[in-house]
């Protein structure tokens, strides 16, 4: 099953593979013919008077018949030799063109397969659910998309063609020797199982040893890394000498592991070369035996010597193929694990209505599949288009969950959500998301310029709109301090922005277009109170109707909303306006009163301090 799944990743490449395989096979066949030219040449020369003693030509040369007849059409020795040389040259040019196309198709197969798989993985991972991304380590995903893709496609293309190459070489090599002398084939082939087995053992064993190398290396890297991140501690305690000693030990262990592994490598390749060379001697010995008895000639021995290389050398790589197969199997498992996860768009609505901004939650409950605790319990509320709504509540009360449900990042189990009276389940996810401008708690900036980041969802927006959005988000001043202004690259590989700056870029991003629904998931708390007010003021003045949902900790922000939703442990505690809620006992009132209370407490303390001092 695993093997089938591994090979299924090569789907769509069969024809290309076949072309590569065919080119490889033909190439090896032409290659196996090359020594026969020398064989014919030597036969021709030996047949001339005064070159060799006695009647020495034994056996046929198994070149294609048309070549043989072309060679022998003339009686002139020099003419024959010219013909041999010219046809050998033609064959070789043909062979190297084949070789060229073989390498090309092989490279293309490998790279194209990797390209396709990379793109497929990227697209698929992008489409996996919000929850998947919440629970997955990026480093691991990258590992799967890079190293694992390379080992898998490398095996499916290059290594599989190597198998074809190996088989073709063995077959044609053995076939040509067989035609010259049967004993030679059997003797040569006899050694193959031995080489194959030791090669397999070697590659499996060396793999384990290399794991030990990686282990010692990572230990050494830890020491370096801890030293670098702790330079202050190292210097402040004057422990530089100790650090050098510590590093020297790990450095040595790593070097020793390398040397140890290399000893095995050296013995293996030494032994393999010995066997390979010894094989030639065996062929010569057999040759001597048969030539002495007049059953073979010098030309045959020379050709066999050239051909026997086709049998021994390639086998040494067999272990590598088996080893790579094992690795590819593991790598493809890891890739398939991702590909088997369903895309979030498998379950999608179909409608793409124009959205006004009326939102209704009706008995909505939500929990993650693998837990029992409900994050939202029977939540009911109604927001009318154009309203500004604040959601407050403690950490874990379910504020962000409401937003994620509205964007259909999560699937709700019970109840239903309606947007302009249409069930959210019927609306296309991507459509809904384009209609909602949301600023997440921890927004992500792409490694592009500030300008491109603001324009990211609306590449063709007019420049003015971008500048306007930046102005409304109170970004202008910050951008002016950047050396390259709007062209400054931000994100992972660029200038690092402060949390507040990031938030404001994200805010500008959603302000570029006029979205019917705007959501700020605690996004305004990272900016100071003044900017917060300015941004909300600017939003109000936008001359189109939009629903705004603000999740906040700031009571002052919540106060100005048309509607305040107070959440408590996944349930709605109360819904109302500041007027009503500040008079009703509950969370909102408590938070509201803390502001005043603290101020008083401080004054008392200072007074006490004053009297203590005096």
């Amino acid at each position: 099953m695993r093997v089938i799944k591994l090979f299924r990743l090569a789907k769509g490449f069969f024809v290309l593979f076949l072309i590569g395989a065919l080119l490889t096979a033909i190439h090896q066949w032409t290659y196996s013919n090359v020594p026969l030219f020398t064989q014919f040449l030597i036969k021709t020369l030996m047949a001339q008077p005064g070159i060799a003693v006695g009647n020495v030509s034994v056996g046929e040369v198994h070149l294609p018949a048309f070549l043989l007849s072309y060679f022998t059409k003339t009686q002139n020795v020099m003419e024959i030799i010219m013909r041999i040389a010219i046809s050998l040259m033609i064959l070789q040019v043909f062979r190297f063109s084949l070789r060229f196309f073989e390498m090309w198709s092989r490279g293309y197969l490998q790279e194209r397969m990797a390209e396709k798989l990379r793109i497929r993985l990227y697209g698929h991972i992008q489409d996996l659910s919000y929850q998947f991304h919440n629970n997955t380590d990026t480093g691991d995903l990258i590992q799967r998309s890079t190293t694992d893709v390379e080992s898998t496609t490398g095996f499916l293309s290059g290594r599989m063609l190597d198998v074809v190459h190996l088989l073709a070489t063995l077959f044609f090599g053995a076939y040509q020797i067989f035609l010259i002398n049967k004993t030679m084939v059997w003797v040569s082939l006899a050694i193959i199982p031995f080489v194959a087995v030791s090669s397999t053992i070697y590659f499996l064993k060396i793999d384990k040893i290399f794991m030990n190398i990686e282990l010692t290396e990572s230990k050494m890297m830890t020491v370096i890394q801890e030293n670098l991140s702790g330079t202050r501690v190292v210097k402040a305690f004057a422990n530089e000498m100790y650090e050098i000693e510590k590093m020297t030990n790990k450095n040595k262990e790593y070097a020793d592991a390398l040397i140890k592994a290399n000893k095995i490598v050296a013995v293996y390749w030494g032994a393999m070369d010995f066997i390979g060379i010894a094989q030639y001697l065996v062929i010569i010995a057999i040759g001597v035996y048969y030539v002495q008895r007049g059953l073979m000639d010098a030309a045959g021995v020379v050709a066999s010597l050239a051909l026997v290389g086709m049998l021994i050398w390639p086998i040494r790589g067999l272990g590598r193929m088996i080893n790579d197969f094992g690795k590819a199997l593991v790598a493809s498992d890891r890739i398939n694990e991702i590909l088997d996860k369903p895309s979030e768009y498998d379950d999608d609505g179909t409608q793409t209505p124009e959205i006004q901004g009326n939102i209704e939650f009706r008995d909505v409950s939500f929990k993650f599949e693998d837990t029992n605790e409900h994050l939202l319990k029977k939540v009911n509320f109604k927001i009318e288009a154009g309203q500004t709504v604040a959601i407050i509540g403690r950490t874990g009360s379910g504020k962000s969950t409401i937003i994620n449900l509205l964007l259909r990042m999560y699937e709700y189990q019970n109840g239903d959500i309606f947007v302009d009276g249409i069930s959210l389940r019927d609306i296309k996810k991507k459509h809904m998301r384009t209609q909602v401008g949301v600023v997440l708690q921890d927004p992500f900036l792409y490694s592009k310029t500030v300008y491109e980041n603001i324009a990211i969802a609306h590449k063709n927006a007019a420049k003015d709109r971008i500048y306007m959005a930046a102005e409304v988000a109170a970004l202008e001043k910050d951008i002016k301090t950047f050396k390259q202004g709007y062209e400054t690259i931000v994100g992972e590989k660029g200038t690092t922005l402060s949390g507040g700056q990031k938030q404001r870029v994200a805010i500008a991003r959603v302000l570029v277009s006029d979205k019917p629904i705007l959501i700020f998931d605690d996004a305004l708390s990272a900016v100071d109170t003044k900017t917060d007010t300015m941004i909300r003021e600017a939003l109000k003045n936008k001359n189109y109707k939009h629903t705004t949902i603000i999740i906040t900790h700031r009571i002052t922000t919540a106060r100005e909303a048309d509607l305040i939703i107070v959440l408590e442990q996944g349930k709605i505690e109360v819904i109302g306006t500041h007027e009503t809620l500040s008079k009703t006992p509950g969370l909102y009132q408590k938070l509201w009163s803390i502001q005043g209370k603290l101020e008083k407490e401080f004054q008392d303390l200072v007074k006490r301090g004053d009297s203590d001092a005096s």
């Binding site: 020398t38 070159i51 003693v53 020795v77 020099m78 030799i81 040389a85 190297f96 070789r99 390498m103 490279g107 990227y122 697209g123 991972i125 919000y130 991304h133 919440n134 997955t136 990258i142 830890t222 370096i224 801890e226 670098l228 991140s229 210097k235 402040a236 305690f237 000498m241 050098i244 590093m247 020297t248 450095n251 790593y254 290399n262 000893k263 390749w269 030494g270 070369d273 010995f274 060379i277 030639y280 001697l281 010569i284 001597v288 002495q292 010098a298 021995v301 020379v302 998301r433 909602v436 949301v438 927004p443 992500f444 990211i456 992972e492 590989k493 803390i594 603290l598 401080f602 001092a613």
Partner: protein, 609 residues
């Protein structure tokens, strides 16, 4: 960012860099001699084969004379053994050289890193240094050790073959002599092209990884913005370019080796024709002709090997330069010759000449900047008596950290002086100061070893009992007691098996063990639960007891309890005095205290709500 890109520049050979590398490689010179011997030996045996075959053909198969057969077998077995031995030997030696060279590169780089000042670490990303110490060291040592083999083997093979051919029959040897420069020319032209294409492909490859990273890290934002299609398109484009240039490199390689082979076989065909004439004229034997053919076919291999070495070296140039820069960077913060003579150096201190440290500290007209024209401190003055605790308060960028960095001599004043016990601190060695200084970090830095060893880091020669005593003083003992392995508990990488509070306490006990006269405490801004807060507070009191201490303070309780509060703004002291004095002023400190107070209290409320 520029650190990543510089690998793509085509480097000119720089002699200084390679000189340094060669001195490092020469530390293994005995092995290198052996390696050269082994490579030469293999080249010799390689070239012997056609000779042996010629003998077999002429004597046995054509001549029919088998009298020397037993000797022939013996020689052949010896050659096979020699071959096995030679291959074993050069792989063995090259492996050791590779390990030794990379060991030495890392050793020297690491040793030099210990001498460098913070200025260096501030502007050099940790990842960059890590990459030099690992992948560059690996790459360079690999290319050097195996490059030697290839180079020696290739040149030896070519020379030996040419010598044999000329000695045998110079008229036929001329053919290969003509082919050789053509092959070399083609090789170097193509190598350059291939190298360039590989570089472009590699650049797209790292761009691809960056896009993966971004795509996965930003997946949630991407979804919320619904820009999947756009990202997918951009990614596909990069993946396509990567494929395009990888395939191009493959095509160039394929074309290259095919052309070289065609040239080689053209020489073979010429040899066949010319050689046969000489055979027919019985000037040379069939065996000799066969030998010439074999040598001509074999000749392209050393040519390929030589061209590989050249492009490998070009590739390694960038690695070499970066490592050498790591080894040779000079610290911008060093002791003067006189000071070093008296107090010794980092690696050889003269402890007998060290004065004790009392702890009076004075900043006298100190001016400091990281970047010219952007002064952090200007003519800063501050006097602290031995044993006092000083809390530095103020906003980010007010100069608090700079003051403690200067005091720790992680940096030095650009003008003015810092006096310790009345004497300019540059008149004593850095090592002297650091041996008497304690530094407790904002975010504690633990090593991935046991609790015991982490505390012992404060004073390496402390006994287990002394370590445990120090642990008891700040309350580490209280939680270590409950661990199964006690002080032998492994703290995990960066101490991540412990809580933040526990890590801080361990870092405190480290300082207690060191028992420094001057203590610097960079307080954490991160909040911890109120229970830990109380423990940390108690530990802080113990820590500050009886020594001169500078605290970059964030917690109210620490500030309130210190002897002297220095309120900073833009590198200047705006208010200074005790807590009570400053509160009475109702100035900047009063405001700061008020805000901090409300913040801490509000959090307390929220926790208890």
């Amino acid at each position: 960012m520029h650190h990543e890109e510089d690998q793509d520049i085509l480097y000119k050979v720089q002699l200084g860099t390679w000189k340094k590398i060669i001195t490092i490689v020469f530390k293994s010179k005995k092995r290198i001699m052996l390696l050269i011997l082994f490579s030469g030996f293999i080249a010799l045996l390689d070239s012997a084969f056609p000779l042996i075959n010629r003998y077999a053909i002429d004597t046995f198969f054509i001549g029919g004379d088998y009298s020397s057969w037993p000797y022939f077998v013996v020689v052949n077995i010896l050659v096979a053994c020699g071959f096995g031995f030679g291959i074993w030997g050069f792989i063995y030696q090259a492996g050791i050289i590779e390990a030794e060279v990379s060991y030495e590169l890392r050793r020297q780089a690491f040793k030099n890193l210990q001498k460098l000042s913070h200025t260096y670490f501030d502007k050099t990303p940790q990842g960059w240094i890590m990459a030099r110490m690992t992948s560059d060291a690996r790459k360079l040592s690999l290319i050097i050790s195996w490059g030697i083999i290839d180079f020696v083997w290739a040149t030896f093979s070519m020379v030996i073959i040419l010598v044999i051919l000329y000695l045998t029959f110079f008229k036929l040897a001329l053919i290969i002599t003509v082919a050789l420069p053509i092959m070399l020319f083609v090789a170097f032209v193509f190598r350059k092209l291939i190298l360039k294409q590989h570089r472009i492909a590699r650049r797209y490859n790292s761009q691809l990884t960056a896009q993966y990273n971004e795509g996965f890290l930003g997946a949630k934002t991407t979804k919320s913005l619904s820009i999947e299609d756009n990202n997918y398109f951009e990614f596909s484009e990069t993946a396509y370019q990567l494929k395009r240039y990888s395939v191009r490199a493959v095509i160039s390689s394929a074309l290259f080796s095919s052309i070289i082979l065609v040239i080689a076989y053209f020489a073979v065909a010429t040899t066949i024709v010319r050689g046969s004439v000489f055979v027919l004229e019985t000037i040379v034997t069939i065996g000799t002709l066969q030998m010439f053919i074999a040598y001509t076919i074999n000749f392209f291999e050393p040519v390929m090997a030589l061209s590989t070495i050249v492009s490998d070296l070009q590739n390694a140039q960038a690695s070499a330069e970066r490592i050498v820069s790591l080894i040779e960077t000079k610290s911008d913060l060093v002791d003067t010759k006189e000071v070093e003579e008296k107090y010794g150096s980092l690696f050889d201190d003269h402890k007998e000449n060290w004065e004790p440290l009392v702890g009076d500290i004075e900043f006298r007209d100190v001016t400091f900047y990281y970047k010219e024209n952007e002064n952090i401190l200007t003519n800063f003055n501050l006097k602290v008596k031995a044993g006092q605790s000083v809390a530095l308060v103020g906003h980010t960028g007010s100069g608090k950290t700079t003051i403690v960095n200067l005091l720790s001599r992680f940096y030095e004043p650009k003008s003015g002086a810092i006096l310790i016990d009345g004497k300019e601190y540059r008149d004593r060695s850095i090592h002297w100061l650091h041996s008497k200084l304690g530094y407790v970090l904002q975010s504690p830095h633990l090593f991935s070893t046991t609790v015991m060893e982490n505390i012992r880091y404060g004073r390496l020669n402390a006994t287990d009992d002394e370590v445990i005593d120090a642990a008891k003083i700040v309350g580490v003992d209280d939680f270590v007691k409950n661990m199964d392995l006690g002080y032998q508990t492994f703290v995990g990488e960066g101490g991540n098996l412990l809580s933040v509070g526990q890590k801080q306490l361990i870092s405190f006990s480290r300082a207690v063990l060191a028992n420094p006269r001057i203590l610097i405490l960079d307080e954490a801004t991160s909040s911890i639960d109120s229970e830990s807060e109380v423990i940390i507070q108690k530990a802080t009191d113990m820590l500050l007891n009886d020594r001169t201490s500078f605290i970059v303070a964030h917690r109210l309780s620490t500030i309130v309890n210190s002897d002297l509060i220095v309120m900073l703004e833009m590198g200047e002291i705006v208010e200074m005095g005790s807590h009570e004095e400053l509160l009475a002023k109702k100035g900047a400190y009063y405001e700061l205290y008020r805000n901090q107070f409300i913040k801490e209290k509000a959090k307390e409320y929220e926790d208890n709500l």
